[in-house]
Amino acid sequence: MKVAVLKGGRSLERGVSLRSGARVEDALERLGHETIPIDAGGDLVKRLTAAQPEIAFVAMHGPGGEDGTVQELLEILGIPFTGPPVAACARCIDKVLAKHELRAAGVPTPDWFAFNETAFRELGAADALGELEQRLGFPLVVKPSRGGSALGVKFAADWFEVPEALVSAFSYDSRVLLERFVEGRELAVSVLGGEALPVVEAIPGGGDRYDFEARYEIGRTDFVCPAELGESEAAAVTGAALAAYEALGCTGFSRVDLILGDDGPQVLEVNAIPGLTDTSLLPQAAEAAGMSFEDLVDRILALAREPAAA
């Protein structure tokens, strides 16, 4: 089969995407497919039109490739593609929108408040921040609404750290959220075709537990898969992950990040197109389920060719 592998693009996660794409190309070739690697740029549509692929494997992360933009173009061109559909991508990339959907669907997610930059610049929203202490308490986590990996995610231990954290988060997006910090185990559940793969636990090595950049870095964080969970814990975690996946309308594959605290699992976010590099969590989870990377890529392609699920 002729498969276009879309990777790179202009997002800040370009580097990861290029690695995901290269690994997918390897696997596709070993599976006997013809691959057309495309670094998504200004000539994307021209190249797709010229190459006429039967299917597109979207290995892009962050705004542009993971937010529905590229998916919309592929729909217009009539090229089937891997991963979630346009609407699900748009919901997942926007953490604020995603949290509203999750809460509406009864999926547990930590309390939060969201602010637009204009609210601070034009509406004096800083005056409302005082409310946060009662509602969220400290410490809290400040995140850009749209943005992948740990970029711009800051931890605020007290009031003095909030303005600085907001300035950082607003560097990535014009909307940020302030979220209650939930103490607990950090888990990731990859979902493939509506089924949960074994749970991965990220255990930060020594150092600053609030160093978000270290969290998903090999050597600074240990990953355990399958995570050691009791039967009921495991059921609660996968249940919450599948509910989140459904609530946001994902199909194909996605990864749900959660915290398992004293009050059970809380969903932090859903990554519509999680990393597929040698060190990414989805491939690790697939491995634990007995699937090689080729098996995983093959399955993702098969899911993309099935008629769209509801």
């Binding site: 800040l12 580097g15 070993r30 190459a51 004096g124 009031w159 909030v162 303005p163 907001l166 300035v167």
Partner: protein
């Protein structure tokens, strides 16, 4: 249409992470932030005005000269130029090195010189020779960003000494040395870029140079002097290198042709006392046997024409103009709270912003405006430091791009300053339970991030 297919690995099983993770050496555990690496990857887009590089301008090197010299090498020395060479380098290359060092008043013994694959390899070989895991290495704060991964990969415990407008604060160094004495520890060496430092652009004063050399002598302490930019002076009086002041007993010297000729030829050197040099040579043998013989021939040809200093004079004119352009642009476009250094040579300006601005995040925002710089944290081993500073390069791009690049960065900063103002305004502070305070009321953090460089307007030109 399709990208060139590269070679694929043949294995078909996955489990790559698990398979290799158990094999990694402990030194690989000390990795730099991946988030930062990903940000820097984006700066390579062609439409980005990059003030992030450390590139000299190679566009003015006469192509005809290059062609004639390479032709002559082909006609006269093909066999030798394509052959292995001595690990220490060709004697003729060392002659050129002696000439370059002579231009700054140094007279090393040719036997003490080794030709390396760029100055970077010299730093690596010195660490390989001297540093065991856990050993103390001392350097400047901020330090050359390229030295950080070297120190980390040899698992050194790196202590950074603050700089001010006169370079490394030697009194702070003395305090650290005294403290180490108390712990019964002895640093393996002090690494310094005394002239037009990368990234800070500052130059160590003569008094401090003398004091550092004196300390080295008293304590039998090695100093590694990395001097890539010494000859690129636009103003002020030349200062003697540490090597000259010391005579080569306790100062190991690192030099390079990168900034005075070409970084592409990958030719640098180290000068060290004979016992140290012996080990460095063995280390180099293990690393790469010898430095490129082809490019050593090129340097020999180039120096035989005796015009190498004219080329440096040309570069100085270009860089002086670009520094002036950048300083003028900084004055016009950076906020009044910002400070920056005004170097008398070299390639870099170091700017420091209000402490509530994290320059890694600022870079993400600036990249949307297609402009890039190096966030200050790259110059620190402890990545939580240098967060509000940035390194700006003025040698690699033309005046127009410098002006436009600084204008865009300035606009991005202004946006953040305004936002911070909105977040900490008086009306916000009026709320009952949780007033947000102005920056000056912020309780002292771990501090030390903001270098006490002179405010630009007060700085000597």
């Amino acid at each position: 249409m399709e990208e060139t297919p590269h070679r694929r690995r043949a294995h078909t099983r996955s489990s790559d992470l698990e398979r290799y993770a158990g094999l990694f050496a402990a030194r690989t555990g000390v990795m730099r932030s991946s988030a930062m690496r990903d940000l820097m990857a984006v700066t390579a887009r062609p439409e980005v005005i990059s003030l992030a590089g450390g590139l000299p301008d190679t566009s003015t090197f006469p192509a005809a000269t290059f062609a004639a010299q390479m032709t002559r090498i082909a006609q006269e020395s093909t066999a030798e130029a394509l052959q292995y060479g001595p690990t220490e380098g060709f004697a003729e290359t060392v002659d050129c090195i002696i000439e370059v060092m002579g231009a700054e008043g140094m007279l090393p013994d040719p036997d003490d010189v080794i030709v390396t694959t760029g100055g970077q390899q010299a730093i690596d070989l010195i660490c390989k020779t001297l540093v065991d895991p856990g050993d103390v290495v001392i350097c400047e704060a901020p330090t050359y960003p390229g030295a950080v991964p070297v120190f980390c990969s040899y698992q050194a415990e790196t202590i950074q000494i603050e700089c001010d407008a006169d370079g490394m604060r030697i009194e702070d160094l003395e305090a650290v040395l005294a403290q180490l004495d108390g712990e019964g520890r002895r640093p393996k060496f002090v690494y310094s870029v005394p002239s037009f430092q990368n990234p800070a652009g500052v130059t160590m004063s003569l008094g401090r140079r003398r004091r550092l050399v004196e300390l080295a002598r008293q304590r039998e302490l090695l100093v590694v002097e990395d001097n890539p930019y010494g000859l690129l002076r636009f103003g002020g009086e030349p200062l003697p290198p540490l090597y000259q002041l010391d005579g080569g007993d306790f100062v190991i010297y690192v030099g390079t042709f990168s900034k005075i000729l070409s970084p592409g030829i990958r030719l640098g050197w180290a000068v060290a006392p004979p016992p140290v040099m012996e080990k460095i040579v063995l280390g180099k043998q293990a690393s790469d046997l010898c430095t490129s013989t082809l490019t050593q021939h090129f340097v020999r040809e180039y120096f035989s024409e005796r015009r190498w200093q004219e080329y440096i004079a040309d570069l100085i004119e270009i860089y002086r103009g670009r520094r002036d352009t950048m300083v003028a642009a900084l004055r016009e476009h950076f906020p009044t709270e910002a400070t920056w250094t005004e170097p008398e040579g070299g390639l870099f300006i170091w700017a420091t912003l209000p402490e509530y601005i994290d320059t890694s995040d600022l870079l993400a925002k600036a990249l949307r405006e297609d402009v890039a710089f190096v966030p200050g944290q790259a110059a620190y081993v402890d990545e939580s430091r240098g967060r509000s500073s940035m390194r700006l390069n003025f040698s690699g791009v033309g005046d127009e791009e410098i002006r436009e690049g600084v204008r865009r960065i300035g606009r991005t900063i202004a946006d953040q300053v305004e936002l911070y103002g909105a977040l900490t305004s008086d009306s916000a502070a009026g709320t009952t339970s949780a007033p947000l305070v102005a920056p000056e009321a912020k309780p002292a953090s771990d501090g030390g991030d903001v270098l006490p460089f002179r405010k630009a307007d007060e700085g000597a030109a």
